[in-house]
């Protein structure tokens, strides 16, 4: 028999979501255990040494590590048992038992309620379908960020960045500051993926060119990357003949976006096909009772403030569930109308305020978010896919949904 421990609330993954969750559960007065596979908690915050975190959650502009240390200090004042170097290999969602691997061996934890906050991973290289060799020097932006900011290793002399999402832009600046020549950033879309602020402060400040409607069409080098071939692409991302050229670089940094990390537990829990993360209600409960999820494994959030706020709600409901307090009320499903890609939550529970997170499909100069059955509209101007739209509806206003049995969210 494996050694078995017990706890009220078990939180799996110690990033921003997991830490905020553990903190709020502990404030409800229950026993909380937080498991983290790395040797310290913090998650992706530890390697995001730039500033731009916490304006909403802490009303102060912090760097990633500072945001993490605020949460760690707060957790240390409460009754949270943090166990690092513990990897959760599997969970039994119905019995709420987690199987843990640690340097001390394997064991099980039986929990009153479970919260999964395992974050996201980077989109793998294979999914980009670039022909050619697979030499060293081709790496995801998050891996490069880890090398430079945590491990003191500079992975390039002359680098190109593929993808203009914020992670790619931030790495363009970071590598430049460390003395690497960043030749250019390529984006296959006709508009940049990241925030204007990052285009200005990470690229223009350092005269790094951004080539739109351009992608990598070939890679060569044996052992180490020697050069890449780049081409213009049309609106279907098909390379335009006669536009290719070869550029010598020893690193190609891929910023292809993040994917919610769900595969370890997705056999038992429902996943939203568009968000690609766990389907949750506004109480952060998954498709199985007593199992909650929050953070980047629900959907890719652009602000840590949203992630921490969702973790906080998950923690409170998990704590109440573990004490046998039934906090959930009537529920209706949420349907995605037009112009929306990411949409959280997938279910509205009448007992909790509704916090909607919406990502647009494409940039829109003007628009209105419509919550059809609630007859609520919110106008916006200059909406871009890189910035989520957040909308909060007080639970007192949710009752009309019961007459319709659903909520439809669309952008006009």
């Amino acid at each position: 028999m494996l050694k078995r421990e017990k706890t009220d609330v078990l939180v799996i993954g110690g990033g921003a979501a997991g830490m905020a969750c553990a903190l709020s559960a502990a404030k409800e007065g229950v026993y909380v255990t937080l498991l983290e596979r790395e040797s310290s908690v913090g998650g992706v915050l530890n390697q995001c040494i730039h500033n731009g975190f916490g304006l909403q959650f802490y009303h102060q502009e912090l760097t990633g590590p500072e945001f993490a240390s605020r949460l760690i200090d707060d957790m240390n004042m409460e009754n949270v048992k943090i166990i690092s170097q513990s990897y959760v290999r599997d969970i039994d969602v119905r019995k709420r038992v987690a199987q843990v691997l640690s340097p001390d061996g394997a064991y099980e934890i039986q929990a009153g309620a479970l919260v999964i906050s395992t974050g996201a991973r980077e989109r793998p290289f294979g999914s980009l379908l670039i022909p050619g060799d697979r030499p060293a020097g081709v790496m995801p932006a998050g891996v490069a960020q880890r090398y430079v900011n945590l491990e003191n290793r500079i992975p390039a002399r002359k680098a190109m960045i593929l993808g203009s999402g914020d992670i790619g832009l931030i790495m363009a600046r970071r590598l430049t500051l460390e003395g690497v020549e960043v030749v250019s950033v390529l984006e296959r879309m006709s508009y940049p993926g990241g925030l204007t602020r990052n285009i200005v402060q990470c690229l223009e400040d350092f005269d790094i060119p951004l080539h739109l409607s351009t992608t990598v069409t070939g890679i060569s080098g044996d052992g180490r990357l020697r050069s890449v071939e780049i081409s213009k692409v049309d609106e279907n991302f098909t390379p335009v003949p006669g536009t290719s050229r070869t550029i010598d670089v020893d690193a190609l940094i891929l910023s292809a976006g993040l994917l919610p990390q769900v595969e370890d537990f997705s056999d038992d829990l429902e996943v939203d096909p568009m968000n690609r993360g766990f389907l949750v209600s506004n109480t952060c409960e998954s498709s199985t009772e007593g199992v909650f999820a929050a953070g980047n494994n629900v959907a890719i959030f652009d602000l840590v403030d949203y992630v921490a706020a969702e973790g906080w709600i998950a923690g409170r409901h998990a704590a109440l569930f573990s004490r046998g307090v039934n906090t959930s009320g009537d529920r209706v499903p949420v349907f995605r109308g037009k112009n929306i890609s990411v949409l959280v939550p997938g279910i509205v529970d009448m007992e909790e305020h509704l916090r909607l997170y919406i990502r647009l499909r494409k940039p829109m100069e003007k628009g209105v978010v419509v919550l059809k059955e609630l007859k609520i509209e919110k106008k916006f101007s200059y909406g871009v896919p890189s910035e989520m739209i957040q909308l909060v509806v007080n639970r007192d206003k949710l009752q009309p949904l019961m007459n319709y049995g659903k909520l439809t969210v669309e952008v006009q």
């Binding site: 040494i49 730039h50 240390s69 460390e178 400040d205 910035e387």
Partner: protein, 129 residues
């Protein structure tokens, strides 16, 4: 003081142009007043917060992340980075520790943004702020 500036204060991202006519400046393209002030500052002396990391000796991590608590002259960032590259400090380090008293000659310090404990020791605790 003339040129084009992309305002980054909000997602609209106005392209603001600043021209000198005689003793007057004309500022155009901004959709609100905040853009005018932003463009003026960007043209006169753009400033940025610098975040980077420096080496740690005898620590549980090889690096500690650092920042300037206020924006510094953008034009000096390259040379300041060269200086920082040659620095290292000894563990333990706590969040908020002053790593360099004056990094830009204007009295701006460089502060640690992460705690690093001594190799084999416990992490130095930080007081909640």
């Amino acid at each position: 003081m003339e040129g084009h500036i992309t305002c980054v204060i909000c997602p609209v991202g106005c392209k603001v142009s600043v021209r000198k006519e005689g003793v007057q400046y004309t500022i155009e393209g901004n959709r609100c007043a905040r853009g005018e002030e932003y463009a003026r500052n960007e043209l006169m002396m753009p400033k940025r917060i610098l975040t980077t990391s420096i080496g740690v000796s005898n620590g549980t991590l090889p690096l500690v992340s650092v920042k300037t608590p206020r924006p510094i002259d953008r034009a000096r960032i390259k040379e300041i980075m060269k200086e920082i590259k040659n620095l290292s400090i000894a563990a333990p380090v706590a969040v908020g520790d002053t790593v360099v008293e004056d990094i830009d000659g204007e009295g701006t310090p460089l502060l640690a943004t992460r705690a690093v404990s001594c190799n084999g020791g416990r992490e130095k605790t930080t007081l909640p702020t």
